[in-house]
Symmetry: C2
Amino acid sequence: MYMVFDDKFSDLGRSLEPSALTQIMNMITEDVISFSGGLPHPDSFPVEEVREMMEYVLTNEPVTALQYGSPRGNEKLIAFLAARSKDKEMKVTEKNFLITSGSQQALDLLARVFLDPEDEVIVESPTYLGALGPFKNQKAQLTEVPMDDNGVIPEELEKILQARRTENKQVKFIYLIPTFQNPTGVTLSLERRQKICSLASKFDVLVIEDDPYGELRYAGEKVPPLKVFDKTGHVIYLSTFSKIFSPGARMGWVTAHESIISKLVYLKESVDLHSSTFVQSIVYEYCRKNLLDQHIKDILPIYSVRRKAMLNALETHFIKDVTWTEPEGGFFLWATLPDHIDTKDLLVEAAKNRVAYVPGYAFYPGGQGQNTMRLSFSGVDESQIDEGIKRLAAVVSKEISK
Amino acid sequence: MYMVFDDKFSDLGRSLEPSALTQIMNMITEDVISFSGGLPHPDSFPVEEVREMMEYVLTNEPVTALQYGSPRGNEKLIAFLAARSKDKEMKVTEKNFLITSGSQQALDLLARVFLDPEDEVIVESPTYLGALGPFKNQKAQLTEVPMDDNGVIPEELEKILQARRTENKQVKFIYLIPTFQNPTGVTLSLERRQKICSLASKFDVLVIEDDPYGELRYAGEKVPPLKVFDKTGHVIYLSTFSKIFSPGARMGWVTAHESIISKLVYLKESVDLHSSTFVQSIVYEYCRKNLLDQHIKDILPIYSVRRKAMLNALETHFIKDVTWTEPEGGFFLWATLPDHIDTKDLLVEAAKNRVAYVPGYAFYPGGQGQNTMRLSFSGVDESQIDEGIKRLAAVVSKEISK
């Protein structure tokens, strides 16, 4: 598009453009079985509960729901979240909370509050695509730490932190999705969680723990959030109602040291005054009536069945030299194809055969991982999963045998 | 508060702190008659309509309302806004729209897309307090243009633009609230609107027209938005559902040249993915059922009565050497006291006498206007307005006679 006003944009404004991924994803049409999006399944939406809560809120607290609110968020909702976090053994009070418009906003606020151009951020390799935007908008330098099946490798992390200490350079923060990671589905082990918290304190470096999927475990043993092991306030915990209530609500929260929350609150006020009081009131009622835990129980089987269906389909249809992770929760698994396959090119073929995924390169700040892909099982009905994986296996098989 | 992690914040993070105004405003307790906030009156909230729309949305389009949506916003809502804007003689299509979480978010997005440190922004003197945050966060230089009873003075604006042209310097944009301005209540005259649009084209400078109150006219002749006279795409128009539906909804929109909208959409995606689809669905139903225009008709008398009550009370109780504007709409009027009165100090006395306002200095980037105050009539019942102004007059009178 011919851009008038090109001489007026800021550095950031000039740098903003549609990602290659967006362009690829536009190829995905209606009749495609898509394992690409990280969408909750519509069956998981608590429609009747929302109706009931809405009714309650409009009858009992219409003004709270419709008037301006405070930048920090609905006090009752915060009190609920604080109590729930304490139940999970986090050492926090209500002063450690900020309500955000989804975790995406938390990432943007944190990026702005901490990052100047050239500041270093350490991320898992691969990491959540949507975090790269806020970090890059602040012109951060992203350093990737390798992962294995137990998550990010603490020894590799320590090497980097030690090197920076020697160079007398600061790492602004480490960004991790420790549980059912997006994109790999991998979960950081208990030992590694403890080790990483020790490293954070020892090297005085902040850790952002992004935990959108933590409540969605379908197999294996529960592992506490990193924040539970945080004795020095170095862990900033993010979560969201997107996957356990509704993403359209755009409702999430930050749990962090009070001095960090203060800064975020001041910024939040100039960014959008506050998140919708309307939605906050409904979400609070939903929580207060204990519908949240019930809802989580209700949706676990939906996703559990899909995860199983995808793992089965992969076993059934996939060819040798293709490997994949076996996530114990969340929405995603990660497949690795033979080195010479480029999943970006392959997606064109896949789309022609009416199946889609996200090419792995999109999750690497450095753009590597050309032979990997993220497969999401959350948004596809189990009856379609087998067919989709079958189509994908045929496309992959054809490409491998070329 | 002792701030740990002080060595970690960005330049922006370090600069964020509670404003002096926030601290002053904290003095205002429950039993104070407060003319300070720009709050819509709760009686104006369409509670029953929201209930009805909610019911409709949850029955007919629960997935649209609860699932992720597009960064640009609900297509039907955008189509409605585009049609409505065309009815108002704006030359726009759906491509000229972005849905934002209130106009506050539009200001933040625009500031980020356009402003690098030291970039110049021209603002009315005084201007909307809440716009100063986003502009200052980008480290913009703010230049004030004087106003009179017909709004900002085009000749003064032209002088600045001419000077910059001579110096070969760029002004990034001019920020105006042309109709029922916050804080003064003043409306820019028709002739000046045309003149300012000509200046924008002639000097190739963007104008942000912030119009939250345009629909709330209680007296005088309607004047079209600046955007109507914009032939070259230089005017960026902002409005919001905050004052004509509910501020708690956090729902606003930007109308601008397509090349500007594109940049805002890319940024919006990394900022919060999109505004609540839940709220967008309800707001759209509200618009589609023609409840918006009906609602505006319903609320006009509420505010009209209050405006009249405040003007009457000022006539009745105020002493000579105090002057005030007579707004034809909106929420505010602006009072000017004798030069030697400092309204910041006076507020302490006022609060003791259980009445409050916002000291005028807060609306000047340069902090001048120490003898001015903003009085909001929107949030106070007319029965209380006379009593509040009486209390204020007593405090002012005492101070003047000191």
